[in-house]
Protein backbone atom coordinates (compact mmCIF):
# COMPACT_ATOMS: atom_id res chain seq x y z
CA UNK A 1 0.00 0.00 0.00
CA UNK A 2 2.75 2.34 1.01
CA UNK A 3 4.57 1.43 -2.16
CA UNK A 4 1.68 2.30 -4.43
CA UNK A 5 1.18 5.64 -2.74
CA UNK A 6 4.86 6.45 -3.30
CA UNK A 7 4.39 5.43 -6.88
CA UNK A 8 1.41 7.69 -7.22
CA UNK A 9 3.29 10.55 -5.68
CA UNK A 10 6.19 10.16 -8.07
CA UNK A 11 3.82 10.01 -10.99
CA UNK A 12 2.05 13.09 -9.74
CA UNK A 13 5.32 14.91 -9.48
CA UNK A 14 6.21 13.82 -12.94
CA UNK A 15 2.85 15.07 -14.16
CA UNK A 16 3.44 18.43 -12.61
CA UNK A 17 6.88 18.69 -14.09
CA UNK A 18 5.62 17.59 -17.40
CA UNK A 19 3.26 20.50 -17.84
CA UNK A 20 5.17 23.70 -18.50
CA UNK A 21 2.88 25.65 -16.28
CA UNK A 22 0.63 24.13 -13.67
CA UNK A 23 -2.11 26.64 -14.25
CA UNK A 24 -3.38 26.45 -17.79
CA UNK A 25 -5.93 29.19 -17.45
CA UNK A 26 -3.40 31.84 -16.48
CA UNK A 27 -1.25 30.74 -19.39
CA UNK A 28 -4.05 31.36 -21.84
CA UNK A 29 -4.72 34.70 -20.15
CA UNK A 30 -1.03 35.57 -20.59
CA UNK A 31 -1.22 34.62 -24.22
CA UNK A 32 -4.33 36.71 -24.71
CA UNK A 33 -2.67 39.73 -23.08
CA UNK A 34 0.40 39.31 -25.26
CA UNK A 35 -1.71 39.28 -28.39
CA UNK A 36 -3.78 42.27 -27.38
CA UNK A 37 -0.69 44.32 -26.58
CA UNK A 38 1.11 43.31 -29.76
CA UNK A 39 -0.54 45.51 -32.39
CA UNK A 40 0.50 43.29 -35.29
CA UNK A 41 -0.64 40.09 -33.64
CA UNK A 42 -3.95 41.65 -32.66
CA UNK A 43 -4.57 42.89 -36.19
CA UNK A 44 -3.67 39.41 -37.44
CA UNK A 45 -6.13 37.82 -35.05
CA UNK A 46 -8.95 40.12 -36.15
CA UNK A 47 -8.29 39.56 -39.86
CA UNK A 48 -8.12 35.80 -39.33
CA UNK A 49 -11.39 35.78 -37.40
CA UNK A 50 -13.06 37.71 -40.21
CA UNK A 51 -11.62 35.30 -42.78
CA UNK A 52 -12.77 32.24 -40.86
CA UNK A 53 -16.26 33.70 -40.56
CA UNK A 54 -16.22 34.52 -44.25
CA UNK A 55 -15.27 30.94 -45.00
CA UNK A 56 -18.05 29.53 -42.85
CA UNK A 57 -20.71 31.99 -43.95
CA UNK A 58 -19.66 32.16 -47.61
CA UNK A 59 -23.10 31.26 -49.06
CA UNK A 60 -24.74 33.95 -46.91
CA UNK A 61 -22.23 36.73 -47.50
CA UNK A 62 -21.43 36.28 -51.18
CA UNK A 63 -23.58 38.64 -53.25
CA UNK A 64 -23.67 36.25 -56.25
CA UNK A 65 -23.20 32.61 -57.09
CA UNK A 66 -19.42 32.25 -57.66
CA UNK A 67 -19.97 30.40 -60.92
CA UNK A 68 -22.95 32.37 -62.23
CA UNK A 69 -22.12 34.08 -65.50
CA UNK A 70 -23.65 37.38 -66.50
CA UNK A 71 -23.35 39.60 -69.49
CA UNK A 72 -21.29 42.18 -67.56
CA UNK A 73 -17.93 40.78 -68.57
CA UNK A 74 -14.71 42.34 -67.25
CA UNK A 75 -16.58 45.13 -65.52
CA UNK A 76 -14.33 47.28 -63.32
CA UNK A 77 -15.22 47.52 -59.62
CA UNK A 78 -18.60 49.23 -59.16
CA UNK A 79 -21.50 49.28 -56.70
CA UNK A 80 -23.05 46.32 -58.44
CA UNK A 81 -19.83 44.32 -58.45
CA UNK A 82 -17.57 45.72 -55.68
CA UNK A 83 -14.44 43.99 -57.03
CA UNK A 84 -15.50 43.83 -60.68
CA UNK A 85 -16.20 40.80 -62.85
CA UNK A 86 -14.02 38.37 -64.79
CA UNK A 87 -13.90 37.45 -68.48
CA UNK A 88 -16.95 35.20 -68.09
CA UNK A 89 -18.97 37.82 -66.21
CA UNK A 90 -18.59 36.16 -62.83
CA UNK A 91 -18.56 38.35 -59.73
CA UNK A 92 -14.98 38.54 -58.43
CA UNK A 93 -15.95 39.30 -54.82
CA UNK A 94 -18.17 36.23 -54.63
CA UNK A 95 -15.45 34.07 -56.12
CA UNK A 96 -12.90 35.35 -53.61
CA UNK A 97 -15.33 34.77 -50.73
CA UNK A 98 -15.89 31.17 -51.81
CA UNK A 99 -12.16 30.85 -52.39
CA UNK A 100 -11.53 31.69 -48.72
CA UNK A 101 -13.31 28.50 -47.77
CA UNK A 102 -11.21 26.23 -49.93
CA UNK A 103 -7.89 27.97 -49.37
CA UNK A 104 -8.24 27.98 -45.59
CA UNK A 105 -9.60 24.44 -45.61
CA UNK A 106 -6.67 23.12 -47.60
CA UNK A 107 -4.18 25.11 -45.53
CA UNK A 108 -5.49 23.77 -42.24
CA UNK A 109 -6.20 20.20 -43.37
CA UNK A 110 -2.81 19.67 -44.95
CA UNK A 111 -1.01 20.94 -41.86
CA UNK A 112 -3.19 18.78 -39.60
CA UNK A 113 -2.27 15.72 -41.64
CA UNK A 114 1.43 16.48 -41.87
CA UNK A 115 1.54 17.36 -38.18
CA UNK A 116 -0.04 14.05 -37.20
CA UNK A 117 2.26 11.95 -39.36
CA UNK A 118 5.34 14.07 -38.69
CA UNK A 119 4.89 14.07 -34.92
CA UNK A 120 4.36 10.30 -34.81
CA UNK A 121 7.48 9.74 -36.95
CA UNK A 122 9.47 12.17 -34.81
CA UNK A 123 8.39 10.63 -31.50
CA UNK A 124 9.02 7.09 -32.69
CA UNK A 125 12.41 7.99 -34.14
CA UNK A 126 13.52 9.99 -31.11
CA UNK A 127 12.14 7.66 -28.46
CA UNK A 128 13.20 4.28 -29.78
CA UNK A 129 16.38 5.34 -31.57
CA UNK A 130 18.37 2.59 -33.28
CA UNK A 131 17.55 1.33 -36.75
CA UNK A 132 14.02 2.73 -36.64
CA UNK A 133 15.43 6.21 -36.02
CA UNK A 134 18.00 5.64 -38.74
CA UNK A 135 15.47 4.68 -41.40
CA UNK A 136 12.99 7.42 -40.54
CA UNK A 137 15.63 10.12 -40.35
CA UNK A 138 17.37 9.15 -43.58
CA UNK A 139 14.07 9.71 -45.34
CA UNK A 140 13.39 12.96 -43.47
CA UNK A 141 16.91 14.21 -44.29
CA UNK A 142 16.36 13.41 -47.94
CA UNK A 143 13.18 15.45 -47.98
CA UNK A 144 14.85 18.18 -45.93
CA UNK A 145 17.38 18.73 -48.72
CA UNK A 146 14.61 20.21 -50.86
CA UNK A 147 12.20 23.09 -50.23
CA UNK A 148 8.71 21.92 -49.27
CA UNK A 149 7.22 23.49 -52.37
CA UNK A 150 9.52 21.52 -54.67
CA UNK A 151 8.65 18.29 -52.84
CA UNK A 152 4.98 19.13 -53.35
CA UNK A 153 5.57 19.68 -57.09
CA UNK A 154 7.44 16.34 -57.32
CA UNK A 155 4.58 14.55 -55.55
CA UNK A 156 1.99 16.13 -57.84
CA UNK A 157 4.15 14.92 -60.74
CA UNK A 158 3.81 11.40 -59.37
CA UNK A 159 0.21 11.43 -58.14
CA UNK A 160 -1.30 13.67 -60.80
CA UNK A 161 -3.27 16.88 -60.43
CA UNK A 162 -6.62 17.47 -58.70
CA UNK A 163 -7.69 18.66 -55.27
CA UNK A 164 -7.23 15.35 -53.46
CA UNK A 165 -3.77 14.71 -54.89
CA UNK A 166 -2.83 18.31 -54.16
CA UNK A 167 -3.86 17.92 -50.51
CA UNK A 168 -1.88 14.69 -50.16
CA UNK A 169 1.14 16.24 -51.87
CA UNK A 170 1.21 19.31 -49.63
CA UNK A 171 0.62 17.22 -46.49
CA UNK A 172 3.53 14.93 -47.26
CA UNK A 173 5.74 17.81 -48.33
CA UNK A 174 5.48 19.54 -44.96
CA UNK A 175 5.91 16.56 -42.63
CA UNK A 176 9.70 16.68 -42.42
CA UNK A 177 9.55 19.93 -40.45
CA UNK A 178 7.34 18.36 -37.81
CA UNK A 179 9.29 15.11 -37.65
CA UNK A 180 12.58 16.96 -37.14
CA UNK A 181 11.34 19.31 -34.47
CA UNK A 182 9.53 16.57 -32.57
CA UNK A 183 12.51 14.25 -32.68
CA UNK A 184 14.80 16.98 -31.38
CA UNK A 185 12.45 17.70 -28.50
CA UNK A 186 12.03 14.01 -27.67
CA UNK A 187 15.78 13.48 -27.53
CA UNK A 188 16.08 16.23 -24.89
CA UNK A 189 13.01 15.29 -22.90
CA UNK A 190 13.89 11.58 -22.90
CA UNK A 191 16.81 12.34 -20.58
CA UNK A 192 14.69 14.19 -18.00
CA UNK A 193 14.35 12.68 -14.58
CA UNK A 194 10.59 12.52 -14.66
CA UNK A 195 10.78 10.23 -17.68
CA UNK A 196 13.22 7.94 -15.88
CA UNK A 197 10.93 8.04 -12.87
CA UNK A 198 7.91 7.08 -14.95
CA UNK A 199 9.89 4.28 -16.55
CA UNK A 200 11.06 3.04 -13.17
CA UNK A 201 7.45 2.91 -12.08
CA UNK A 202 6.77 0.59 -14.97
CA UNK A 203 4.90 2.96 -17.27
CA UNK A 204 4.61 1.56 -20.78
CA UNK A 205 6.45 3.15 -23.71
CA UNK A 206 3.16 4.34 -25.12
CA UNK A 207 2.18 5.94 -21.82
CA UNK A 208 5.55 7.64 -21.45
CA UNK A 209 5.40 9.01 -24.97
CA UNK A 210 1.82 10.22 -24.71
CA UNK A 211 1.77 11.48 -21.16
CA UNK A 212 5.27 12.69 -20.41
CA UNK A 213 7.05 13.40 -23.66
CA UNK A 214 4.46 14.81 -26.05
CA UNK A 215 2.94 17.40 -23.68
CA UNK A 216 6.39 18.92 -23.22
CA UNK A 217 7.11 19.03 -26.91
CA UNK A 218 3.97 20.94 -27.85
CA UNK A 219 5.25 24.55 -27.82
CA UNK A 220 7.61 24.30 -30.80
CA UNK A 221 5.15 22.08 -32.63
CA UNK A 222 2.37 24.63 -32.26
CA UNK A 223 4.62 27.43 -33.47
CA UNK A 224 5.72 25.34 -36.44
CA UNK A 225 2.11 24.46 -37.23
CA UNK A 226 1.18 28.15 -37.39
CA UNK A 227 4.05 28.94 -39.73
CA UNK A 228 3.29 25.86 -41.81
CA UNK A 229 -0.35 26.84 -42.31
CA UNK A 230 0.76 30.06 -43.97
CA UNK A 231 3.25 28.21 -46.18
CA UNK A 232 0.68 25.55 -47.01
CA UNK A 233 -1.76 28.26 -48.12
CA UNK A 234 0.98 29.81 -50.26
CA UNK A 235 1.88 26.40 -51.70
CA UNK A 236 -1.73 25.62 -52.53
CA UNK A 237 -2.14 29.00 -54.19
CA UNK A 238 1.05 28.56 -56.22
CA UNK A 239 0.17 25.01 -57.30
CA UNK A 240 -3.38 26.00 -58.24
CA UNK A 241 -1.97 29.00 -60.08
CA UNK A 242 0.28 26.67 -62.08
CA UNK A 243 -2.73 24.52 -62.96
CA UNK A 244 -1.59 21.58 -60.83
CA UNK A 245 -4.36 21.95 -58.30
CA UNK A 246 -8.10 22.11 -58.14
CA UNK A 247 -10.57 21.66 -60.97
CA UNK A 248 -11.68 24.77 -62.81
CA UNK A 249 -15.15 24.94 -61.22
CA UNK A 250 -13.75 25.29 -57.68
CA UNK A 251 -12.64 28.86 -57.11
CA UNK A 252 -9.46 29.03 -55.06
CA UNK A 253 -7.39 32.18 -54.84
CA UNK A 254 -4.55 30.71 -56.88
CA UNK A 255 -6.89 29.50 -59.58
CA UNK A 256 -8.77 32.82 -59.80
CA UNK A 257 -5.41 34.53 -60.32
CA UNK A 258 -4.44 32.00 -62.97
CA UNK A 259 -7.71 32.56 -64.83
CA UNK A 260 -7.28 36.31 -64.68
CA UNK A 261 -3.62 36.16 -65.74
CA UNK A 262 -4.32 36.62 -69.46
CA UNK A 263 -6.55 39.65 -68.90
CA UNK A 264 -4.55 41.69 -66.40
CA UNK A 265 -3.46 44.27 -68.96
CA UNK A 266 -7.12 45.21 -69.48
CA UNK A 267 -8.62 44.25 -66.13
CA UNK A 268 -6.18 45.01 -63.28
CA UNK A 269 -8.70 43.98 -60.62
CA UNK A 270 -8.45 40.36 -61.73
CA UNK A 271 -4.75 40.45 -60.90
CA UNK A 272 -4.90 42.52 -57.73
CA UNK A 273 -7.70 41.33 -55.44
CA UNK A 274 -7.26 37.54 -55.29
CA UNK A 275 -3.58 38.00 -54.44
CA UNK A 276 -4.47 40.59 -51.83
CA UNK A 277 -6.64 37.97 -50.15
CA UNK A 278 -3.76 35.50 -50.07
CA UNK A 279 -1.35 38.09 -48.74
CA UNK A 280 -3.69 39.29 -45.99
CA UNK A 281 -4.24 35.74 -44.81
CA UNK A 282 -0.58 34.78 -44.83
CA UNK A 283 0.47 38.07 -43.24
CA UNK A 284 -2.04 37.65 -40.41
CA UNK A 285 -0.90 34.12 -39.71
CA UNK A 286 2.73 35.22 -39.75
CA UNK A 287 2.02 38.05 -37.29
CA UNK A 288 0.24 35.66 -34.95
CA UNK A 289 2.93 33.04 -35.36
CA UNK A 290 5.59 35.59 -34.54
CA UNK A 291 3.82 36.58 -31.32
CA UNK A 292 3.34 32.91 -30.49
CA UNK A 293 7.04 32.22 -31.02
CA UNK A 294 8.06 35.07 -28.71
CA UNK A 295 5.47 34.04 -26.17
CA UNK A 296 6.45 30.39 -26.07
CA UNK A 297 10.11 31.29 -26.37
CA UNK A 298 10.69 28.87 -29.20
CA UNK A 299 13.85 29.19 -31.22
CA UNK A 300 13.90 26.12 -33.32
CA UNK A 301 11.31 26.29 -36.03
CA UNK A 302 11.49 26.72 -39.72
CA UNK A 303 10.08 30.22 -39.64
CA UNK A 304 11.93 32.76 -41.66
CA UNK A 305 11.69 35.99 -39.77
Amino acid sequence: MARTSTAQRIEQNADQNSAESTDHRSRWADWWLTVVHDKKAFAGLIVLTILLMTAVLAPLIAPYDPNAMEYDMMEPPSFKHPLGTDDLGRDLLSRIIYGTKISLFIGITTVAISLSIGVVLGVVAGYFGGWLDHIIMRYIDLQWAFPNFIIAVYLVAVFGTGILNLTIAISLAFLDDFARITRGMVLTIKKEQYVSAARAMGASDYRIMRRYILPNATAPIIVQATVSVSYAILAEAALSFLGLGVEATTPTWGLILAEGRSFISRAWWLGVFPGLAIMLTVLSINFLGDALRDFMDVRESRGLI
Partner: protein, 315 residues
Protein backbone atom coordinates in the same frame (compact mmCIF):
# COMPACT_ATOMS: atom_id res chain seq x y z
CA UNK B 1 39.70 19.39 -45.50
CA UNK B 2 40.18 17.27 -48.62
CA UNK B 3 38.81 14.25 -46.83
CA UNK B 4 35.78 16.26 -45.91
CA UNK B 5 35.41 17.51 -49.46
CA UNK B 6 35.55 13.99 -50.84
CA UNK B 7 33.18 12.64 -48.20
CA UNK B 8 30.61 15.37 -48.80
CA UNK B 9 30.82 15.09 -52.58
CA UNK B 10 30.39 11.34 -52.30
CA UNK B 11 27.31 11.67 -50.10
CA UNK B 12 25.86 14.27 -52.50
CA UNK B 13 26.30 11.75 -55.31
CA UNK B 14 24.60 9.05 -53.23
CA UNK B 15 21.66 11.37 -52.57
CA UNK B 16 21.45 12.10 -56.30
CA UNK B 17 21.38 8.38 -57.01
CA UNK B 18 18.65 7.81 -54.41
CA UNK B 19 16.54 10.61 -55.90
CA UNK B 20 17.02 9.17 -59.39
CA UNK B 21 15.99 5.72 -58.18
CA UNK B 22 12.93 7.11 -56.40
CA UNK B 23 11.97 9.00 -59.55
CA UNK B 24 12.34 5.86 -61.67
CA UNK B 25 10.23 3.64 -59.44
CA UNK B 26 7.62 6.16 -58.37
CA UNK B 27 6.82 7.31 -61.87
CA UNK B 28 6.40 3.67 -62.87
CA UNK B 29 4.49 2.54 -59.80
CA UNK B 30 1.69 4.99 -60.33
CA UNK B 31 -1.35 3.95 -62.35
CA UNK B 32 -1.55 5.59 -65.73
CA UNK B 33 2.01 4.86 -66.79
CA UNK B 34 2.32 7.02 -69.93
CA UNK B 35 4.19 4.43 -71.95
CA UNK B 36 1.59 1.82 -71.14
CA UNK B 37 -1.06 4.36 -72.13
CA UNK B 38 0.77 4.96 -75.40
CA UNK B 39 0.87 1.24 -76.08
CA UNK B 40 -2.87 0.92 -75.51
CA UNK B 41 -3.46 3.87 -77.79
CA UNK B 42 -1.79 2.03 -80.61
CA UNK B 43 -4.62 -0.48 -80.62
CA UNK B 44 -2.75 -2.87 -82.86
CA UNK B 45 -1.28 -5.64 -80.63
CA UNK B 46 1.67 -6.23 -82.91
CA UNK B 47 2.60 -2.56 -83.05
CA UNK B 48 2.22 -2.44 -79.29
CA UNK B 49 4.56 -5.40 -79.02
CA UNK B 50 7.14 -3.63 -81.17
CA UNK B 51 6.86 -0.44 -79.19
CA UNK B 52 7.19 -2.22 -75.89
CA UNK B 53 10.29 -4.00 -77.20
CA UNK B 54 11.67 -0.70 -78.42
CA UNK B 55 11.25 0.86 -74.97
CA UNK B 56 12.35 -2.30 -73.21
CA UNK B 57 9.04 -2.64 -71.39
CA UNK B 58 8.95 -6.39 -71.97
CA UNK B 59 12.00 -6.82 -69.76
CA UNK B 60 11.95 -7.26 -65.97
CA UNK B 61 11.93 -4.04 -63.95
CA UNK B 62 15.42 -4.40 -62.51
CA UNK B 63 16.93 -4.76 -65.99
CA UNK B 64 14.95 -1.73 -67.16
CA UNK B 65 16.30 0.14 -64.15
CA UNK B 66 19.94 -0.72 -64.83
CA UNK B 67 19.58 0.24 -68.48
CA UNK B 68 17.81 3.46 -67.55
CA UNK B 69 20.53 4.35 -65.06
CA UNK B 70 23.14 3.72 -67.76
CA UNK B 71 21.33 6.07 -70.13
CA UNK B 72 21.05 8.71 -67.42
CA UNK B 73 24.77 8.56 -66.71
CA UNK B 74 25.43 9.20 -70.39
CA UNK B 75 23.14 12.22 -70.25
CA UNK B 76 20.47 10.45 -72.31
CA UNK B 77 17.14 11.31 -70.71
CA UNK B 78 15.02 9.94 -73.53
CA UNK B 79 12.84 12.21 -75.62
CA UNK B 80 9.58 14.07 -75.19
CA UNK B 81 6.57 11.93 -76.05
CA UNK B 82 4.93 14.88 -77.81
CA UNK B 83 5.31 16.64 -81.13
CA UNK B 84 8.64 16.25 -82.83
CA UNK B 85 9.99 14.12 -79.98
CA UNK B 86 12.78 16.51 -79.02
CA UNK B 87 15.43 14.84 -76.84
CA UNK B 88 14.98 15.77 -73.18
CA UNK B 89 18.68 16.60 -72.87
CA UNK B 90 18.25 19.23 -75.58
CA UNK B 91 15.18 20.73 -73.87
CA UNK B 92 17.10 20.89 -70.62
CA UNK B 93 20.26 22.39 -72.06
CA UNK B 94 18.15 25.11 -73.65
CA UNK B 95 16.27 25.72 -70.41
CA UNK B 96 19.19 25.79 -67.99
CA UNK B 97 20.80 29.08 -69.11
CA UNK B 98 17.43 30.80 -68.65
CA UNK B 99 16.96 29.47 -65.14
CA UNK B 100 20.55 30.25 -64.19
CA UNK B 101 20.28 33.80 -65.58
CA UNK B 102 17.09 34.37 -63.63
CA UNK B 103 18.42 32.86 -60.40
CA UNK B 104 21.71 34.75 -60.49
CA UNK B 105 20.14 38.10 -61.35
CA UNK B 106 17.52 37.68 -58.60
CA UNK B 107 20.30 36.74 -56.23
CA UNK B 108 22.33 39.88 -57.02
CA UNK B 109 19.35 42.24 -56.89
CA UNK B 110 18.25 40.71 -53.61
CA UNK B 111 21.70 40.91 -52.02
CA UNK B 112 22.25 44.51 -53.15
CA UNK B 113 19.03 45.50 -51.44
CA UNK B 114 19.24 43.22 -48.42
CA UNK B 115 22.78 43.86 -47.18
CA UNK B 116 22.57 47.66 -46.79
CA UNK B 117 18.99 47.38 -45.56
CA UNK B 118 19.98 44.88 -42.89
CA UNK B 119 22.99 46.94 -41.78
CA UNK B 120 21.02 50.18 -41.55
CA UNK B 121 18.20 48.49 -39.67
CA UNK B 122 20.74 47.15 -37.16
CA UNK B 123 22.55 50.47 -36.69
CA UNK B 124 19.33 52.38 -36.24
CA UNK B 125 17.67 49.72 -34.13
CA UNK B 126 14.07 50.56 -33.15
CA UNK B 127 14.05 53.67 -35.34
CA UNK B 128 11.25 54.36 -37.77
CA UNK B 129 13.56 53.06 -40.50
CA UNK B 130 14.05 49.80 -38.63
CA UNK B 131 10.33 49.34 -38.07
CA UNK B 132 9.43 50.02 -41.67
CA UNK B 133 12.10 47.54 -42.78
CA UNK B 134 10.57 44.91 -40.49
CA UNK B 135 7.18 45.63 -41.97
CA UNK B 136 8.54 45.42 -45.52
CA UNK B 137 10.23 42.12 -44.70
CA UNK B 138 6.96 40.71 -43.38
CA UNK B 139 5.19 41.88 -46.52
CA UNK B 140 7.89 40.44 -48.75
CA UNK B 141 7.57 37.05 -47.10
CA UNK B 142 3.79 36.99 -47.00
CA UNK B 143 3.26 38.08 -50.58
CA UNK B 144 2.88 35.18 -52.99
CA UNK B 145 5.76 35.50 -55.46
CA UNK B 146 3.52 34.98 -58.47
CA UNK B 147 1.18 37.71 -57.29
CA UNK B 148 4.05 40.16 -56.95
CA UNK B 149 4.99 39.16 -60.50
CA UNK B 150 1.46 39.95 -61.69
CA UNK B 151 1.48 43.33 -59.91
CA UNK B 152 4.81 44.19 -61.51
CA UNK B 153 3.43 43.25 -64.93
CA UNK B 154 0.31 45.36 -64.38
CA UNK B 155 2.31 48.43 -63.37
CA UNK B 156 5.53 48.32 -65.39
CA UNK B 157 4.47 46.39 -68.47
CA UNK B 158 0.75 46.93 -69.01
CA UNK B 159 0.45 50.54 -67.82
CA UNK B 160 3.85 52.22 -68.01
CA UNK B 161 5.14 50.09 -70.92
CA UNK B 162 8.67 50.29 -69.55
CA UNK B 163 9.52 46.62 -69.62
CA UNK B 164 8.27 43.55 -71.49
CA UNK B 165 5.66 41.42 -69.74
CA UNK B 166 6.80 38.01 -70.92
CA UNK B 167 9.55 36.14 -72.72
CA UNK B 168 13.28 35.75 -72.66
CA UNK B 169 16.12 36.84 -74.92
CA UNK B 170 19.52 35.13 -74.69
CA UNK B 171 22.43 37.30 -73.61
CA UNK B 172 24.11 36.61 -76.98
CA UNK B 173 21.54 38.94 -78.55
CA UNK B 174 22.69 41.83 -76.43
CA UNK B 175 22.97 42.55 -72.74
CA UNK B 176 20.19 45.12 -72.58
CA UNK B 177 17.47 43.02 -74.26
CA UNK B 178 18.47 40.14 -72.00
CA UNK B 179 18.40 42.30 -68.90
CA UNK B 180 15.17 44.04 -69.92
CA UNK B 181 13.33 40.72 -70.01
CA UNK B 182 14.76 39.59 -66.70
CA UNK B 183 14.33 42.66 -64.48
CA UNK B 184 10.69 42.08 -63.50
CA UNK B 185 11.07 38.30 -63.03
CA UNK B 186 14.19 38.82 -60.93
CA UNK B 187 12.53 41.34 -58.66
CA UNK B 188 9.52 39.04 -58.23
CA UNK B 189 11.71 36.03 -57.47
CA UNK B 190 14.19 37.87 -55.27
CA UNK B 191 11.88 39.73 -52.92
CA UNK B 192 11.23 36.98 -50.37
CA UNK B 193 14.90 36.02 -50.53
CA UNK B 194 15.87 39.62 -49.92
CA UNK B 195 13.55 39.83 -46.90
CA UNK B 196 15.10 36.74 -45.31
CA UNK B 197 18.66 37.94 -45.83
CA UNK B 198 17.95 41.47 -44.59
CA UNK B 199 16.42 40.12 -41.37
CA UNK B 200 19.32 37.73 -40.90
CA UNK B 201 21.94 40.45 -41.40
CA UNK B 202 20.13 42.71 -38.98
CA UNK B 203 20.04 40.20 -36.15
CA UNK B 204 23.54 39.00 -36.88
CA UNK B 205 24.90 42.58 -36.82
CA UNK B 206 23.12 43.23 -33.54
CA UNK B 207 24.80 40.17 -32.03
CA UNK B 208 28.25 41.19 -33.22
CA UNK B 209 27.95 44.82 -32.11
CA UNK B 210 27.49 43.59 -28.54
CA UNK B 211 30.79 41.65 -28.49
CA UNK B 212 33.92 42.69 -26.63
CA UNK B 213 36.16 43.32 -29.60
CA UNK B 214 33.74 45.86 -30.98
CA UNK B 215 33.79 47.60 -27.60
CA UNK B 216 37.59 47.59 -27.79
CA UNK B 217 37.51 49.04 -31.28
CA UNK B 218 35.12 51.67 -30.06
CA UNK B 219 37.23 52.61 -27.03
CA UNK B 220 40.29 52.86 -29.28
CA UNK B 221 38.39 55.71 -30.90
CA UNK B 222 38.07 54.15 -34.33
CA UNK B 223 35.62 55.78 -36.69
CA UNK B 224 32.16 54.33 -36.64
CA UNK B 225 32.35 53.44 -40.31
CA UNK B 226 35.58 51.50 -39.80
CA UNK B 227 34.13 49.61 -36.87
CA UNK B 228 31.02 48.64 -38.77
CA UNK B 229 32.49 47.75 -42.13
CA UNK B 230 35.90 46.39 -41.17
CA UNK B 231 35.30 44.85 -37.78
CA UNK B 232 31.62 44.00 -37.48
CA UNK B 233 30.36 43.17 -40.95
CA UNK B 234 32.73 40.30 -41.90
CA UNK B 235 31.87 38.45 -38.72
CA UNK B 236 28.20 39.25 -39.01
CA UNK B 237 28.19 37.67 -42.46
CA UNK B 238 29.25 34.22 -41.27
CA UNK B 239 25.86 32.99 -40.06
CA UNK B 240 24.29 34.70 -43.06
CA UNK B 241 26.08 32.33 -45.42
CA UNK B 242 24.25 29.28 -44.11
CA UNK B 243 20.98 31.12 -44.39
CA UNK B 244 21.90 32.15 -47.92
CA UNK B 245 22.14 28.45 -48.67
CA UNK B 246 18.61 27.79 -47.41
CA UNK B 247 17.33 30.98 -48.98
CA UNK B 248 18.96 30.15 -52.31
CA UNK B 249 17.09 26.86 -52.32
CA UNK B 250 13.87 28.82 -51.74
CA UNK B 251 14.88 31.19 -54.53
CA UNK B 252 15.21 28.24 -56.90
CA UNK B 253 11.79 27.02 -55.83
CA UNK B 254 10.43 30.49 -56.53
CA UNK B 255 11.94 30.61 -60.01
CA UNK B 256 9.88 27.52 -60.89
CA UNK B 257 6.73 29.60 -60.39
CA UNK B 258 8.10 32.87 -61.72
CA UNK B 259 9.25 31.31 -64.99
CA UNK B 260 5.70 30.19 -65.53
CA UNK B 261 4.26 33.67 -64.91
CA UNK B 262 6.66 35.31 -67.35
CA UNK B 263 6.63 32.44 -69.88
CA UNK B 264 10.38 31.96 -69.59
CA UNK B 265 11.05 28.44 -70.78
CA UNK B 266 13.49 27.62 -68.01
CA UNK B 267 13.75 24.35 -66.15
CA UNK B 268 10.80 25.21 -63.90
CA UNK B 269 8.48 25.82 -66.82
CA UNK B 270 9.72 22.65 -68.50
CA UNK B 271 8.91 20.73 -65.31
CA UNK B 272 5.42 22.17 -64.90
CA UNK B 273 4.52 21.87 -68.57
CA UNK B 274 5.80 18.30 -68.48
CA UNK B 275 3.54 17.50 -65.52
CA UNK B 276 0.53 19.14 -67.19
CA UNK B 277 1.16 17.25 -70.46
CA UNK B 278 1.97 14.00 -68.62
CA UNK B 279 5.18 14.00 -70.61
CA UNK B 280 7.05 11.65 -68.29
CA UNK B 281 10.50 11.58 -69.88
CA UNK B 282 10.54 15.38 -69.62
CA UNK B 283 9.24 15.36 -66.02
CA UNK B 284 11.84 12.78 -65.06
CA UNK B 285 14.69 14.74 -66.60
CA UNK B 286 13.53 18.03 -65.12
CA UNK B 287 13.13 16.56 -61.62
CA UNK B 288 16.64 15.12 -61.79
CA UNK B 289 18.19 18.38 -62.95
CA UNK B 290 16.33 20.45 -60.35
CA UNK B 291 17.36 17.96 -57.65
CA UNK B 292 20.99 18.04 -58.70
CA UNK B 293 20.90 21.85 -58.51
CA UNK B 294 19.61 21.69 -54.94
CA UNK B 295 21.95 18.94 -53.78
CA UNK B 296 25.04 20.65 -55.14
CA UNK B 297 24.04 24.12 -53.93
CA UNK B 298 23.82 22.63 -50.44
CA UNK B 299 27.26 21.12 -50.90
CA UNK B 300 28.70 24.40 -52.16
CA UNK B 301 27.28 26.33 -49.22
CA UNK B 302 28.74 23.85 -46.74
CA UNK B 303 32.16 24.16 -48.31
CA UNK B 304 31.92 27.93 -48.56
CA UNK B 305 31.21 27.99 -44.87
CA UNK B 306 34.60 26.47 -44.05
CA UNK B 307 36.33 29.01 -46.29
CA UNK B 308 34.59 31.99 -44.72
CA UNK B 309 34.91 30.92 -41.11
CA UNK B 310 38.42 29.56 -40.50
CA UNK B 311 37.36 28.42 -37.03
CA UNK B 312 35.29 25.69 -38.60
CA UNK B 313 37.30 22.63 -39.56
CA UNK B 314 35.54 19.54 -40.71
CA UNK B 315 37.00 16.12 -40.16
Amino acid sequence: MYRYLIKRTFSALVVTWIVATLVFFMLRAVPGDPLAAMLFDVGDPQAAQELSQKYGLDQPVHIQYVKWLGHMLQGDFGSSIYGSRVPVSQIISEALPRTISLALLSFFIAITIAVPAGIFAAIRKNSALDHSMTMLAFLGLSMPDFWLAILLIIVFAAHLHWLPAIGYVPISQGVWPWLKHLILPSIAAGTAFSAIIARMIRSSMLEVIKTDYIQVARSKGLRKKTILLVHALPNALIPVVTVIGIAFALLMATTVVIENVFSIKGIGRVLIQGILNRDYPVVQGAILVVSVIFIFTNLLVDLLYTVIDPRIRYE
